[in-house]
């Protein structure tokens, strides 16, 4: 540890602490860009409402606790289900009409949706954030010697890695995933085989939304439940998805974690640039490899 201090001129606690914070941010970037990449890769829709749906997941957890007494652990499953169902309704009612049009209309619709959702929650709950405590099993922290790690934040990293891997396995390795991928590549043919293509589409959107809501529940104890939590995050996630390669699921997950850590490192060495480093990386990637690090050439 002393060697690190000697080489970098930075105390190791600062370095590892910020890296850890960066990894946690990266976990959220990864989960959100996973959902976005899923929806874009399968449906060719940029889901601007993704941030607002993430926020709804956090609010669902808060409201479940306030009004139904449902605690954190069940909320991890119930909240994504509720918000995912809401997402599927949106898809059925509104997005379906837009598939045959220019993709830009999907972007505009989801943008309007994001404004409505955020406005409604801001009107009802104010914008200063509501408290939500981590469950009793995850409070406290470990003193690792070179840094202090709160248990809950360690749990966030573990949970997000597990969920991202599980989703990737679902899409790439299972039959359902195969149907989903086929349905979006050649809908008429797959429909001719008897597979209910519109239902597959709706399910995919619902899955993407549920992922966002799950991230929201994870975020509620750390970032405090706040109507603006999604809009702060969504643009960064867009940049992550552009860098990773739009439509590549593994790409967005890996890029999310990597960029989170890069942000953490920048906070230690060059704090003024920490907000912009992800966008600078995006600009560079666009210059060298426009389809993204893991994307397919369009």
């Amino acid at each position: 540890m002393e060697q690190i201090w000697a080489i970098l001129g930075i105390p190791p606690q600062a370095l590892f602490g910020q890296l850890m914070v960066g990894l946690i941010n990266g976990a959220f970037y990864a989960m959100l860009s996973l959902g976005l990449a899923l929806i874009f890769g399968m449906l060719n829709i940029i889901n601007f409402a993704h941030g607002a749906l993430y926020m709804m997941g956090a609010f669902a957890a808060y409201l479940l606790l306030e009004h139904a007494g449902i605690g954190y652990w069940p909320a991890l499953i119930v909240a994504p289900l509720i918000v995912g169902a809401f997402g599927m309704i949106i898809e059925r009612v509104a997005l379906k009409q837009l598939y045959k049009l220019d993709h830009l209309y999907g972007l505009l619709l989801t943008f309007g949706l994001a404004l409505i959702l955020e406005g409604v929650f801001r009107e009802l709950y104010g914008s200063s954030g509501l408290p939500y405590s981590p469950p009793p099993g995850l409070t406290g922290g470990f003193n690792l010697g070179f840094m202090y790690l709160p248990v809950y934040r360690g749990w966030v990293i573990v949970a997000s890695v597990v969920v991202c891997l599980a989703t990737w396995l679902l899409i790439e390795k299972t039959r359902l995933g195969a149907y989903l991928r086929a349905a979006t590549e050649n809908p008429e043919l797959v429909q001719a085989f008897g597979v209910n293509v519109p239902a597959m589409i709706t399910l995919t959107y619902g899955l993407g939304v549920a992922l966002a809501a799950f991230a929201g529940v994870l975020a509620a104890p750390i970032y405090s439940v706040n109507p603006l939590m999604g809009s702060n995050l969504i643009i960064i996630v867009f940049a992550v998805v552009v860098i990773g390669g739009m439509g590549s699921i593994l790409g967005s997950v890996i890029t999310g974690f990597m960029l989170g850590m890069l942000e953490g490192l920048t906070k230690v060495f060059y704090p003024e640039a920490s907000n912009t480093v992800i966008f600078v990386v995006m600009a560079i990637v666009l210059l060298i490899k426009p389809q993204g690090l893991f994307g397919r050439a369009n």
Partner: protein, 352 residues
């Protein structure tokens, strides 16, 4: 409709609008009208890109807001600071200048916006459609954070108490009426520039590129260069709107470069009618009106704007002016027939 009668009809519309604009401040609150005019210019500049070149730029607030900052700073302080990367924080190179008069400040603001447009456009033009929109959004966000950090913008406080100054050295812009007419004159000049751009050989080439890019390239046109030039013009005019905005309200804040403002200009254009000449203006006046009446109620403005967005995308894609033009062409009966045909078709749905 013969072309000639179309021409006279349009001329009459323009004359009426100009007359209304000149009489406006005696009936409505001048500050509201100035705000609406600035936003109308911003939306028209944006529409140049969207309606005539087919590029949806989701980061146009970057040009609007950056020009506002540049103008505000030059009008109030004058000294220019240019950043250069220097470990561990940015270094700033100082060029001392006195506070500039309004006409120079506006020109500088527009010029800065055009330069920024060159940089952003250069990176973004490489991609098409949705990707282009995402890239412009992310680059605009990068500018937002730059504006947050840069000392001359004063972060969350913004540049306050921007002096309006003396135009050409003797016209005092502090009077509301004088300022209003100055903004109106600027608006008309920029509007004429947009018209000239659309109705020139350059504009025709842009139309050809929008219709069928590979064919245009095969005919020997460098499509990217044309698109980039259109982008720079659009950015520069958005910059003029931003500069005027800063002088009218005497304040330049982060709100002007926030992506909500980028979204608002898309809303104005969509509501008014993409690709029409008067559409963005109509949309801008409506959106400015909504903001004015719901100003004290914060979140309601967002909700209202979101509802209008959703409504326009689903049911009202041609926008107000677009619908009026279509109605004139087809008549009421024709419209109803077309609507019924559209509803029948919407039952088929699959992703592209």
């Amino acid at each position: 409709m013969t072309r000639k009668s179309n021409g006279t009809a349009t001329l009459v519309v323009y004359v009426v609008l100009v007359a209304l604009a000149i009489a406006g401040p005696f009936f409505l609150y001048p500050q509201f009208l100035m705000r609406a005019l600035c936003l109308a210019l911003f939306a028209s500049a944006f529409n140049l890109l969207l309606g005539y070149v087919g590029l949806l730029s989701f980061g146009h607030a970057a040009f609007f807001g950056f020009a506002a900052y540049v103008t505000g700073h030059l009008a109030k302080v004058g000294t220019v600071y240019l950043p250069y990367p220097w470990y561990p924080r940015l270094g700033w190179w100082e060029i001392p200048l006195p506070p500039l008069p309004p006409e120079l400040a506006i020109l500088s603001g527009a010029f800065a916006a055009a330069l920024l447009g060159l940089a952003v456009g250069g990176l973004a033009i490489r991609r098409q459609g949705i990707y282009f929109a995402m890239v412009t959004l992310a680059l605009a966000q990068m500018l937002y954070f730059f504006c947050l950090q840069a000392p001359f913008t004063h972060g969350e406080d913004g540049i306050q108490a921007i002096p309006r100054g003396l135009l050409f050295g003797f016209i005092d812009l502090n009077d509301s009426l004088t300022m209003y007419y100055f903004v109106l004159v600027n608006f008309i000049i920029c509007f004429l520039i947009i018209q000239r751009t659309i109705h020139s050989p350059f504009g025709q080439t842009l139309k050809a590129i929008r219709e069928n890019e590979p064919r245009a390239i095969s005919l020997g046109y460098n499509a990217d260069r044309y698109k980039l030039l259109a982008f720079v013009i659009s950015a520069g005019l958005a910059g003029v709107a931003g500069s005027l905005f800063a002088l009218v309200f005497q304040i330049a804040t982060l709100n002007n470069v926030h992506w909500h403002t980028s979204g608002e200009v898309v809303l104005m254009t969509l509501l008014g009618g993409m690709g029409t000449v008067l559409g963005p203006m109509v949309g801008a006046f409506l959106v400015a009106g909504i903001q004015q009446y719901l100003a004290a109620f914060g979140a309601l403005v967002s909700i209202f704007q979101g509802i209008i967005f959703v409504f326009c995308v689903l049911l009202f894609r041609r926008g107000i002016v677009g619908e009026i033009i279509a109605l004139r062409r087809r008549g009421i009966v024709g419209e109803i027939i077309a609507l019924r045909r559209r509803w029948a078709k919407s039952d088929e749905a699959r992703p592209a």
